[in-house]
Structures are given as C-alpha cells and as structure tokens.
C-alpha cells in the first residue's frame, strides 16, 4: 500500500508517448519554486481553506493503481507511452514505488521514474532493473546554491545520476529554469558537459518556470516564497537557447 495524491491519465509531458502519471506523496527536497507543495509530507493532508477543504492523498494498493493504468494500455501501446511515477519524490515510498514499477514491468508497460535524485544508493539496483527511463531533475549547479534552493546539496542527486548513467540507465534530464534564480552560466555549462559526457542522457528538457502551482501554497497555509522571478518571456528563452548552443549542449530542447 502507498499514499497517492493524484493519478493523471493521458499525461503528455511526463515521458515518451501518452502516459499514466501516478503522483506519490513525500519529498525530501523543499524547492522554492515547487509546484506540488502538497506532495511534501508523506501523510495525507487537508487544505486550510476551501468549502469543503480539499484533501490530498489516500491509501492505494498496487493492484488498485494498476487497474487504472491498464485501462489506457492501448493508448500506451500506440504512442510508445506507459506509466510514470512522479510526486513528490516517488522513492520516498520506496517499497510501494518499486512494487508499482515491478508490476508495470511485469505487464510489459513502459516505466518512467520522475525523480529529484535524492534517494539512498541501495535502491539503485532495483530501480535500474525496473525503470525504462529516468526523468531526472537537475535543479541547480553549485553545492551551496542547490542546498539554498532545495534544502539538499547538489552532490546527492549528482552522485546518483552518475551512478545510473555509468550502469547503463537511460535518462531524460529535466531542468526547471527560473529566471534570476538558477539560470546561470555555470548551470548551463554543467548541463552541456553532462550531455557530452553521457550518451545515456537521451534528451534534456528545459522547463521554463511557471506559477500555476502557487495557489496550492496558500491552500496549504503556507506563504509561497518570493522568488522575485517572473515567468520567462520569449526573449529570455532565446537567451537560454543561445547559452546552450554556445556551450555545446546536446539533445536539448526548451519546452
């Protein structure tokens, strides 16, 4: 059993093809731009406002989740899609996460793990066995900056990333980009270097900052941190594009 706070059928941007995305509760990071703050705590939660207040998360069995995932098999098959585990950080519920991945793999369903990279290394063996593609966040460059922005130092996800790639895992790197907050030269430079070093990085998605999740902070009774950032304009995206080109990044695209 595990705590799931959302299940989206026909997700189009959580990996290849048409996907069923399962959102697991619990996250070790506290990203200042987080668009799913309701995922942080492991336990189910209620909003502090609303009539009636919304609740996030309830217990699901593996079979219950799989029953929903199976309903879209034909769409997974024709599109090259499958199941994506997201969150939160799905590995926070390690047993449930692995059980879901194993079940999907057992039925021939393509699996993606949307991860921030913060998990104990002893999970690596089993993750590599059941995950077809890691959607791997690279949130910031610089040990201290990463800690300041997410609460966790950069070396934690980087070490796991290198390990996955060295052992043949396939990775789609996902880089949330917040103007003035993490879109620095050294970050683009690190992205470019990684892309050249590892053919296992099948693609890099630059995810422009969006504020759609901000209202959820208030619902949870929290103040969204003032990042002083705006959603990037076209000109800003062009500048990112120029940096990535200049620094020789491979297989990237800005969404």
């Amino acid at each position: 059993m595990g705590i799931v706070f959302d299940l989206q059928r026909s997700a189009l941007q959580d990996g290849p093809g048409i996907r069923t995305t399962v959102f697991l509760k619990g996250c070790p990071m506290r990203c200042r731009w987080c668009h799913n703050p309701e995922s942080w705590e492991l336990e189910p939660q209620s909003a502090v406002s609303g009539d009636p207040p919304r609740t996030w998360g309830r217990e699901w069995s593996v079979e219950e989740v799989m029953a929903v995932v199976r309903k879209d098999r034909r769409f997974h098959q024709v599109s090259g899609g499958g199941m994506t585990l997201s969150g939160g950080e799905p590995t926070r519920q390690a047993d449930f996460c692995l059980a879901l991945l194993e079940a999907a793999r057992g039925e021939g369903i393509h699996t993606c793990l949307d991860t921030c990279g913060c998990f104990p290394s002893n999970l690596l063996d089993r993750l590599l066995r059941f995950v077809d593609l890691f959607l791997y966040d690279l949130k910031a460059t610089g040990e201290e900056r990463h800690r300041e922005l997410t609460g966790i130092p950069a070396s934690v996800p980087l070490t796991n990333l290198e390990a996955i790639l060295e052992r043949g895992g396939k990775v789609l790197l996902r880089c949330p980009m917040v103007p003035g907050v993490n879109d620095f030269e050294e970050h683009f430079s690190a992205i470019a270097a990684l892309s050249r070093k590892h053919p296992g990085i099948t693609g890099i998605e630059i995810l422009p900052y969006h504020r759609s999740g901000e209202s959820k902070w208030a619902e949870l009774g929290m103040d969204a941190p003032d990042l002083g950032a705006r959603e990037p304009e076209e000109g800003q995206k062009k500048a990112w594009e120029a940096s990535l080109q200049r620094l020789g990044a491979l297989r990237w695209k800005i969404l």
Binding site: H35, N36, K71
Partner: protein, 740 residues
C-alpha cells in the same frame, strides 16, 4: 422565360403565378402537375450570379412553391413571411385579395397540413405540436431530407443522354407511368433552360463578368452534350443539386474526381486553378446552404475512381483550408490501407482552426451500418453521413430525420406520472407517481414507457410523411437522380427508391444516463435521499439545496471511463436504439434508426427541461451528441475516449463525438494526437469531430469554468486539473493554451 428583373418588380408575382398554375393542374397527374409548377418555379428560383462567382447558381426560395426540403416541405406556403411582404408593399386592394385567396387555398392544400391530417388519432395524441418552441417530449419534422443523389450518371450522360435514358426506360409506358416519363424528360428541359439562361446573362453582361466568359461556353454546352471538363461537370452538378433541392452532396470525389484528374493531366487546369474553382463552389454553398447541411464526402472504401478521388480529396481539403467558410461540411472517410496523405492533410487543415474535415472510420462504420440497416457490407460501403451525421445510403436510400425526441424530457415526465412539471400538462402515459416506485427498475420502466410511446408514434409519422409527399408529387429531380427509379418506372417515394427508411434524432441521452446513475445511487442504493425530497429540490432548481446538488454532482458521470456510469449510458443507449430499430417493420420502412447528432437542438431542448437528478440545473443545455455533459469528463482524454467506445455502434445510424484539442496537439504533439486517434479508432471509435480550442472557447471558459473540466493542463510533473485552479490561473492557462 421571365427574367429575374421582371419578377422582382411585382411583389409575390412568382407565388401567385405558381398558385395559379397549381390550381389549374390540380386534378391532372401529380407528375405533370409538378412539372408545370417547376416551369414557373425554376426560372424564379435561380438567381443572377454575383461578381467573383466562378459558377452559376445562386438561389432564392419563393415564399410559396414546391421543394423537398430547402424551400419548404412539398407544396409549401410561408404565410407569415408573405404577410410581411404584403405589409411592406404599397396598398393594392386587388393584390391583397389575390394573396388572401392564395393563403386560404394553401392552408389546407400544403403538404405539411395534409401530412398532419393523415395522422391517426394515437399519433396526433402523442405528437400534438409541430413547433420546436413548444415544450413537449417529441416532435415531427417535415422534410424529405436524407437524399444524396446520383450525379455520376447525369454527368456521364449529360442532359440529352439522360433524356434518352428516361425515354428508353419508359418506352411503351402508359397512363401514370407515361406521365411520369414525360414529366422527367420535361424537367430535364427545364434544367437545360436554366443553363442557357445563365449563359445568356453572362454574354449580356459582357466584359463586366471578365474571366467567367469561359463559363458561358461551359453553360452553353450543357444542354447539348455531356460535360467534358471539370468545370462543366461541377457546374452541371451544382445546378442539378439545386433543381432537386438536395443539399448534401455525397461522394463528390467519386463523381468529380475523374473530371478533375483528366483536366490536370491534360494541362487544362493546374492545381491552383482547380483549387480556386473549388473555393468558389464552397463559397456558393456557404452563401446558400444552412450550416448543418452541405455534406461532401471524400475518401473511404468502395470507390471506383480511387486515385482520381484522392486527388480531388486533397484539393477539396485545401479549398476548405483556404475558403474559411462554415459549409461545406467536408467529411473524410478512412480505412486501413488508404493513401495516408489524406489523413495527414486532414490534420494539417484541422490544425488551422477549421472544423473540417470530420473523420469517419470505415472499419467500424461499414459493418455497423450493415447490421443496423439490415443490409450486406457490400451495400453498406455506400454509407454516407448526412447533414448532422445521420447515415444514409448513397443513391439508393433515403432516411430522412423526420422526428426528434427529447429523452431528458421523457425522464422528467416519468418522474412526474406523465406530467410536465413546468407546464403542468400531461404529455405522456401515466406511469405512476415516482414516490411509489419501490425499486430503480420501477423508475426505469416508467422512463422506458415514456420513450417507447413517443418513438412508436414517430415511426408511424415518418412513413405517413413519405406517403403523403409521395401522393402529392413524384419529386421529379429526386426520382431522376435516385437509383432504380427509372428502371422501376416509379417515383422515388412510390416504390422507386430501394431503401425507404428513416432516422430519429435523440437528445439528452447522456443527461438521462447521468441522472439515472445519480438517482439510483442516492435514492435506491445509498438511500441518502428520498424521492420526495429529491423532487422538491429539483422543483426549486436546487435553491437552498446546494449541498445536495454538490453530492449529486460528485456521483459517477459518463465520460470518465467509470464502469457504473458508463454502463448506465450503454443501457440508455441500447434501449432507445434497440426499441427504435425494432419499429421499422411495423410501418413498412426499410429501417428506422436512432441518430445521436450534433446541432444546436441540445441547447434549445435543454431550455425546456427542469432540473435533473444528476445536479443539472433547469434550462442548462443538454449534452452534445454522444459526448459527456459539458465539463464532466475530468479524467483526461483517454478516459473520455474509452467511455465513448463503450456505446455500441451497430444499432443506430450515427452518433457524433466532439473533441477539442489545443493547437499544440496538432503541432508540437502531433504524434501523440495521432496515437490518441489511432488508439480510439482501433478500439471501435466510429467518428470524430476535432476542433482546436479557440478564442470563443476561451471567452466561454471565462464565463463558466465549470464547463471546462476536460481541458488539460499540460505541464510536466504538475499535479492539477484545470477546474481545481483559481480563476486567475485558469485565465492564464487558457491564454497560454490558445497561443501554444
């Protein structure tokens, strides 16, 4: 022949002359009478060309005349409109007296009145009103719609050849048959006269008409020989379709494709010039045909001229992209192994915010139509969606939608012992007080009885309507252009057409399903509510019962791949489709089938239904076609598509599915869109009308975001549904969705 200018001088001159000729011929054979009436009518009906027209054939319907559908039903007379003309004309006592006499004559002599007069009492009782503005569960509709005629033979033979064909078939005919043959030849002469007159008008206009001089030559040739070029062929098709009053055009790729291909190969036309011609034809359709007609079918199985047809289809789609008009309703049939360029072009055109072509899956529709219509698959290859989506058989069958039933109204009166709670009138059988229903099945039986009562009457009505029109007139051009009529020497409605059939428009299907799911859960299973308290809350349109309404709205709804809600939708669907299909034999129709179609009737009829047990408010629009109630499909597009394919397709004559996607689905996410469609079609999806979310949608969503629950928020890893977001965020996302 009187010219347009002369008739315009005297108000109602055509109408009065038409009436005089009709009266003079009242007692001669109906074929001769119709021919003589057409002699007056056609010259007044066809109007002068306008600058920019590349084809001749604009039209004006006289206020009193003869038509299958476009002008009116059979011999028709629009009294209110005629009175308007009288009032705005200079006072002329003699004219007034003539017109009053004309109106008095037609009041009993018009075909609609004669149809109603032919109803037996039980039909009149079940169908007491003809106006869709009056609250009732069921309505007859008066028309001979559903014709998609055989232009191929006319274009192959030309007008003189067609006359010879008639003469050959009617050789040695006597009596009524001879009269029919004579009238059929006569009406071909009238068509030739129209072509000659247009040619003359173009010549008279001289250089003002500029480049259309070559059209004058084309028109001059039509009375003398078969069309030789695409332009001549399209021109003859256009005039003949209007002469017959048939405004759904069938497989034009089969009919016009070979002419087009020949001209292109011979260098008589290039693709740009051919597209210009089609754009001009499309604009003529747009100027003359209402938005729910003008179907043109391209693609699909069973085409004899497939390669030429494909070339026509591609240019037709390009013309649709360029013309940016409401009609024609271009329709692409497709099947495994069809030239993939057709579907690719279709999606390109749709991506630009055009709503055509509509997509029809032959792999599903041919076997389904065969079973529903009780014909072989070889014959069902010629299924064609008519106006709003009713399947007909090309050239061989009519299945006019001559009735409409409001299923939501049927449920409403079933909950009130046959009484309409809005008007207080009894509108159906007394099926018992809802409070006395011991089980859900009691309620189901009451609902089913209300539906069956109306459907049986509508079936009988359809046949009476055909028979009445058939007695009044042979519908000469329709007979001429329908298979089998000439060889059988019979008028289309008097044994000529092979499949005389009917269709019944149903509305509120999904609303009834959701309402029954809710009432079964709340009253009979969970018992959270009594029938009385529910009916009271509905009667007050949920005032001071918002909590109850929210509870009911939260129960399962069709469109979310929910087994309980979808099973109820299937039960409602199977009941009305099955019962309707079984009525045909009793009245002597080849088949009589439900259609679940798409037009504005869901809005108009919704206004006549009070609150429903699923939480719907009084007057809300009913669901569109086979779709979920607006905004209630909230589990994503795959769940929506899975729900759609749970409804059988083999016992009805077409159900319409609307799907809206953001522009990016057609561009950045094109492979995923194609995967969604192929998954849906492979799973049994029959049809799809795809549209791009547009500015109007954005504005609608601002006014009522609750109707936009199906809109996807497409941001990776983001957990939210559109409806869960605050208003300003919704606005923001909608704007972005539009601009993607």
């Amino acid at each position: 022949m009187p010219t347009l200018q002369k008739t315009a001088l005297r108000p109602l001159a055509t109408e009065l002359e038409f009436t005089r000729v009709y009266r003079e011929n009242r007692d001669v054979h109906p074929a001769i009478r119709e021919w003589r009436c057409l002699e007056v009518l056609l010259p007044a009906f066809f109007q002068a060309m306008k600058p920019g027209d590349l084809f001749a054939g604009r039209i004006r319907h006289p206020l009193c005349g003869f038509s299958t559908q476009p002008g009116g039903f059979g011999y028709y007379c629009h009294e209110a409109a005629i009175r308007n003309v009288l009032e705005s004309s200079p006072a002329d006592a003699a004219l007034r007296e003539h017109v009053e006499a004309m109106l008095a004559f037609w009041r009993v002599e018009n075909t609609t009145a004669k149809t109603r007069a032919a109803y037996p009492p039980w039909v009149s009782q079940a169908l007491p009103v003809d106006s869709l503005a009056i609250v009732h569960p069921a309505y007859p509709l008066y028309r001979l719609g559903g014709t998609q005629l055989d232009y191929g033979r006319l274009l192959a033979l030309g007008i003189p050849g067609m006359k010879a064909e008639v003469s050959r078939n009617f050789e040695g005919a006597e009596g009524g048959e001879a009269a029919l043959g004579e009238a059929l030849c006569g009406c071909l002469d009238l068509l030739a006269d129209v072509a000659r007159r247009y040619a003359g008008e173009i010549r008279d206009a001289g250089s003002a008409m500029g480049e259309v001089r070559s059209l004058a030559e084309a028109l001059e040739s039509l009375p003398n020989r078969p069309p030789r070029t695409f332009r001549e062929a399209a021109q003859l098709f256009w005039l003949a379709s209007w002469a017959a009053g048939s405004w759904n055009y069938g497989r034009l790729d089969e009919v016009l494709g070979p002419f087009l291909a020949r001209d292109l190969d011979a260098g008589l036309l290039d693709e740009a010039a051919a597209t210009d011609l089609l754009v001009s034809l499309w604009k003529l359709m747009d100027a003359t045909v209402p938005c729910w007609d003008a179907r043109i079918i391209v693609g699909g199985k069973g085409r004899e001229n497939e390669e030429a047809g494909d070339r026509f289809a591609l240019l037709a789609m390009e013309a649709t992209r360029r013309a940016r008009v409401i009609v024609p309703q271009l329709t692409l049939r497709f099947h495994d192994g069809q030239n993939p360029a057709l579907m690719a072009k279709a999606l390109d055109v749709l991506a630009e915010g055009v709503t055509f072509p509509m997509l029809y899956n032959d792999e599903v529709n041919i076997p389904a139509a065969a079973k529903a219509m009780g014909i072989s698959e070889a014959e069902a290859v010629e299924y064609l969606p008519f106006g709003c989506g009713e399947y007909m058989l090309w050239k061989k069958g009519f299945a006019t939608p001559s009735g409409a039933i409001n299923l939501a109204k049927c449920l409403e009166i079933a909950l009130n012992d046959g009484r309409c709670p809005i008007s207080g009138k009894v509108m159906g059988p007394r099926t018992g007080e809802a409070a006395s229903f011991a089980s859900f099945e009691d309620l189901w039986r009451a609902y089913a009885a209300q539906v069956e009562y109306s459907v049986a009457a509508l079936t009988a009505q359809e046949k009476i309507e055909y028979d009445t029109l058939g007695r009044e007139a042979p519908c000469l051009f329709t007979t001429l252009l329908t298979d089998d009529c000439l060889s059988r020497r019979k008028a289309a409605l008097r044994g000529g057409v092979r499949y005389l059939a009917g269709t019944l428009e149903t509305y509120g299907n999904t609303d009834v399903a959701d309402a029954l799911t809710a009432i079964r859960a709340a009253v009979f299973e969970n018992k959270t509510e009594t029938m009385e308290s529910l009916l009271t809350a509905m009667g007050n349109d949920w005032e001071e019962a918002e909590g109850l309404r929210k509870h009911l709205l939260a129960l399962p709804k069709y469109g979310n791949d929910d087994d309980v809600a979808d099973a109820m939708a299937a039960r409602v669907h199977d009941h009305v489709c099955g019962f309707t299909r079984d009525q045909a034999a009793a009245v002597g129709l080849a088949y009589y089938l439900v259609v679940v179609i798409n037009n504005s009737m869901n809005v108009a009829l919704g206004k006549m239904v009070g609150a429903l047990p699923d939480g719907r408010k009084a007057g809300d629009p009913l669901a569109n076609g086979n779709n979920p109630v607006a905004g209630r499909d909230r589990q994503g597009v795959t769940a929506f598509l899975n729900s759609l394919v749970k409804l059988r397709t083999d016992h009805h004559a077409g159900a319409v599915q609307n799907m809206k996607f953001s522009k990016s689905m057609f561009t950045a996410h094109r492979p995923k869109l194609e995967a969604l469609l192929s998954g849906y079609f492979a799973a049994g999806g029959a049809q799809a009308m795809l549209t791009v979310v547009n500015r109007g949608d954005l504005e609608a969503a601002m006014r009522g975001p609750e109707k936009w629950g199906h809109l996807m928020v497409r941001v990776g890893g983001f957990s939210a549904r559109f409806v869960e977001l605050p208003n300003d965020v919704q606005r923001h996302i909608l704007e972005r969705t539009l601009n993607e």
